[in-house]
């Protein structure tokens, strides 16, 4: 699992590459924790290379979303594949995020 964070035109682009399963979730959460301070802007979670996500991963997404809601920002999930879209559907996450 690789996570890269890039700032681009007032947007924060987080690229997730690989499987976001339980063993790696803790590490990823720690990496993304500082973003909550910038949650007033736009955070884009680029999932084009994300192959798998478990509830631990979803939890990270949700906590970012909550931070954004509190700070008046927004979280955009971009480029999810069908499998992950299915998981988003099952968990109601499709309604929580702006999916691009």
């Amino acid at each position: 699992m690789e996570v890269t964070i890039a700032h681009q035109n007032d947007e924060i682009i987080v690229s997730l590459d690989g499987r976001l399963d339980t063993p790696v979730a803790q590490e990823v959460a720690e990496k993304l924790e500082p973003l909550k301070e910038e949650a007033g802007g736009t955070i884009i979670l680029d999932c084009s290379a994300l192959t798998y996500i478990s509830s631990s991963g979803l939890r990270i997404f949700l906590s970012l979303r909550k931070a954004a809601a509190a700070a008046g920002g927004k979280v955009i999930v971009r480029n999810i594949d069908d499998n992950i879209r299915g998981i988003f559907m099952m968990t109601g996450f499709l309604n929580l995020f702006e999916i691009q």
Partner: protein, 715 residues
């Protein structure tokens, strides 16, 4: 050496103190006794002096009373003898009397001295002293008073005619009317009473009295033959110690009183002396020093002996104290050393047995734990295990006795086990060979109850041999002691052939080994923990570590305040069996979840699941397993989670089982997926996903196990 010096110092101090005390006491005692002796002697002297003076006074009075009569009789000289006669008759102490005219006083009688005396028969006889041979005017008794005009006591003398009686004469001048001395009146006094009176003084056993005249003649002394025949000076000359005698003699003759030490015939004496007034005599009491200080010296001697004895006692006490101190010190040093060595021995002993748990963290087919609680510092219990060529070799043993000897045998037993099992797979043979080896050198007749097992981890085949040890408990379908042959303990009969047995452990079964320290753990009421309590404690599946902790807790609770009487050793082996395409064993560690993906893909391939379904199934299983890992076991516990898959043409059924805390994930409330982000709880998604992905989800808790069954239908 320092101790010795301290002891010596103590003895010296005690000796000096005792001696100084004794010397001071002796000094003051001597002073007191001397004062007492002086007092006694002086009072005796005074009393005797009074008695003597009494007689002297009588004699003087008798003479003085008759002086006037004699004065009147001067005109008639013939009547002078009558004066003498009356004087004698009226005074019993007077033995004879004369009135001697001063030559030339009467022209008619140039020399006249009628002498009246008591003859031996007691009758009064008269004799004239006015003879040419006697020449009375030249005699002392006549000349001295005439010269001085005073009364005069003559030197004592022995009356040779009257039976050697000691006599003295008092003579006084008789004056005529004009005051001129006309005659001398005398009275001869017998002094035979003097020796009785003075000689009778007995202040001390060996004391004696001595009376001397003004010329140093001996008047009274214990040796009567010396009386009037020797002077003190003569005696002094004869004895070797003349100086002190002369000194006393001089003092006595000078008419003083006092006391002086005198050496006579080698022994020291004290002489107390006092003058008898008017007579020029001196009276003394001679007291040998030995008489004065005799008692004191005897007491002193006794005290000295007591002191010596006391000092000897002190020396003995110090020596025995020293010895006991030395012994005590040696003992405590020995004890300290022993304790130290025990600590080291304990450390070595503990280092010998595998005690890092989980022992095989990389193995998923085995969950085991062991504990040894020695009753004393080092114990005689042992366990050991290791894996060689896919086989788990394990053993448990209990050496008879406790403490160091038992621990030594334990160490030897363990080494022997390792050596022999290194190239031998058959427990019966291992035990037989160990027995032969241990019996060979078993001079102390110590024996070891022993159980040895070899578990083939490939197939669960357990071969074992029991040498008189408590049969281990098998946790298969039920909990019961394993069947064992009646073999004898190790170290008893050297050539004993031990028989082995075998059973097959199904995956997910366990064996619990223990020593009698567990069954025989006693509470204060002397009840034993017993097998029944063990069996009930083993009920309910736990991981190995939890099992041992649970049993320890139960034993501690059972025993209460009673002291631990025996070593307690336990070994729990949970055989989880092999993994296969349909069975995966995960440890209680999040990282193990990564192993799921490959296993699920295998199943999915077999069941013909499409990729998205495979991923979803994987997701559901991950969520379920994560749930167990996070909530079923305490963090860090190396416990197993077993996941199996059953394939049928229409469905795949996954069964997840663990031995952790009972937890029903299906009881969790549904997550409201339509709620807005701010109201969505962070947790609960995992179970939700399991429910969503799987077609049926069922939970049950059986035999202490959490069993979650999840079915995915195959379309």
């Amino acid at each position: 050496m320092k101790k010795y010096r301290t002891g010596l110092l103590l003895v010296i101090v005690a000796a000096v103190t005792l001696e100084v005390t004794a010397v001071i006491q002796m000094y003051f005692s001597q002073k007191g006794i001397k004062a007492e002796a002086s007092l006694r002697a002086e009072s005796e002297l005074e009393a005797t002096q009074c008695e003597i003076l009494d007689v002297i006074d009588q004699a003087e009075s008798a003479v003085k009373n008759n002086v006037w009569i004699a004065c009147w009789a001067l005109d008639n000289p013939d009547s002078l003898s009558a004066v003498c006669r009356r004087l004698i008759e009226n005074n019993p102490v007077v033995m004879g009397s004369t009135v001697a005219l001063v030559p030339g006083y009467l022209r008619s009688l140039p020399l006249y001295a009628p002498y009246v005396f008591r003859d031996p028969s007691g009758a009064l006889t008269i004799r004239s002293l006015a003879t040419e041979e006697y020449d009375y005017p030249a005699q002392e008794w006549f000349a001295k008073p005439l010269e001085s005009g005073e009364g005069y006591w003559s030197e004592p003398y022995l009356d040779e005619g009257g039976g050697d009686i000691l006599m003295t004469t008092y003579s006084a001048p008789v004056r005529d009317a004009s005051g001129k001395i006309a005659a001398i009146l005398t009275a001869d006094i017998s002094l035979d009473w003097l020796s009785d009176m003075v000689g009778g003084i007995k202040v001390y056993p060996h004391a004696f009295s001595l009376m001397v005249s003004r010329t140093g003649q001996i008047m009274v002394c214990p040796a009567e033959t010396l009386v009037m025949r020797r002077t003190v000076d003569e005696i002094a000359n004869r004895s070797g110690d003349s100086a002190s005698i002369r000194l006393v003699n001089q003092a006595m003759r000078s008419g003083t009183s006092g006391n002086l030490p005198v050496k006579y015939k080698g022994s020291k004496n004290y002489v107390y002396f006092a003058p008898v007034e008017r007579t020029g005599w001196s009276m003394s009491i001679v007291i040998p020093e030995s008489d004065i200080y005799g008692t004191l010296r005897r007491i002193g001697g006794l005290i000295w002996i007591l002191q010596i004895l006391g000092l000897a006692m002190i020396v003995l006490i110090i020596r025995s104290y020293d010895r006991s101190q030395t012994k005590y010190k040696a003992l405590s040093e020995k004890k300290e050393r022993m304790e130290n060595e025990l600590h080291i021995a304990s450390g070595i002993q503990m280092a010998m047995i595998p005690k890092i748990f989980p022992p095989f963290p990389d193995r998923n087919d085995l969950d085991m734990s062991a504990a040894i609680i020695p009753a004393k510092e080092v114990g005689g219990d042992l366990y050991d295990f290791y894996i060689r060529e896919g086989k788990l070799f394990f053993c448990i043993g209990d050496v008879s006795g406790k403490g160091i000897p038992a621990s030594l045998v334990m160490a030897v037993t363990r080494t022997t086990f390792r050596n022999i099992s290194a190239h031998q797979d058959d427990p019966a043979l291992i035990v037989t060979m160990m027995n032969a080896s241990l019996s060979e050198s078993n001079e102390n007749c110590m024996f070891v109850t022993f159980f040895c097992g070899v578990l083939d981890l490939e197939n669960g085949r357990l071969r074992y041999c029991n040498a008189g040890h408590n049969p281990p408990m098998i946790l298969l379908d039920t909990i019961h002691p394993i069947e064992v042959d009646a073999n004898i303990p190790l170290g008893v009969v050297a050539d004993f052939q031990f028989s082995g047995q075998e059973i097959t452990l199904r995956p997910d079964s366990a064996i619990f080994l223990y020593t009698d320290g567990l069954t025989e753990a006693e509470n204060l009421a002397h009840e034993q923990f017993g097998e029944t309590r063990i069996e009930s404690a083993l009920h309910g599946w736990r991981c190995a570590e939890e099992h041992l902790r649970n049993i320890s807790d139960r034993v501690i609770e059972f025993v209460g305040e009673a002291p631990q009487s025996d070593d307690l050793t336990m070994l729990f082996i949970h055989y989880l069996g092999k993994e296969n395409p349909h069975r995966i064993i995960l440890r209680n560690n999040i990282k193990q979840i990564s192993r799921l993906e490959g296993w699920v893909e295998g199943i999915a391939g077999e069941a013909g699941l499409d990729l998205p379904t495979t991923m979803n199934v994987n997701l559901a299983l991950e969520e379920a397993v994560t749930n167990v890992i996070l909530y079923a076991y305490p963090e860090g516990m190396h416990a197993p989670v077993i996941l199996t898959a059953d394939l049928s043409p229409t469905a795949v059924t996954f069964t997840l089982s663990d031995n952790g805390t009972p937890f029903d994930p299906t009881a969790a409330p549904e997550v409201d997926i339509d709620a807005p982000a701010t109201e969505r709880p962070i947790g609960g998604l995992g179970i939700h996903l399991v429910r969503k992905i799987m077609d049926t989800v069922a939970y049950r808790h059986r035999d202490g196990k959490n069993i979650l069954t999840m079915t995915k239908n195959i379309k």
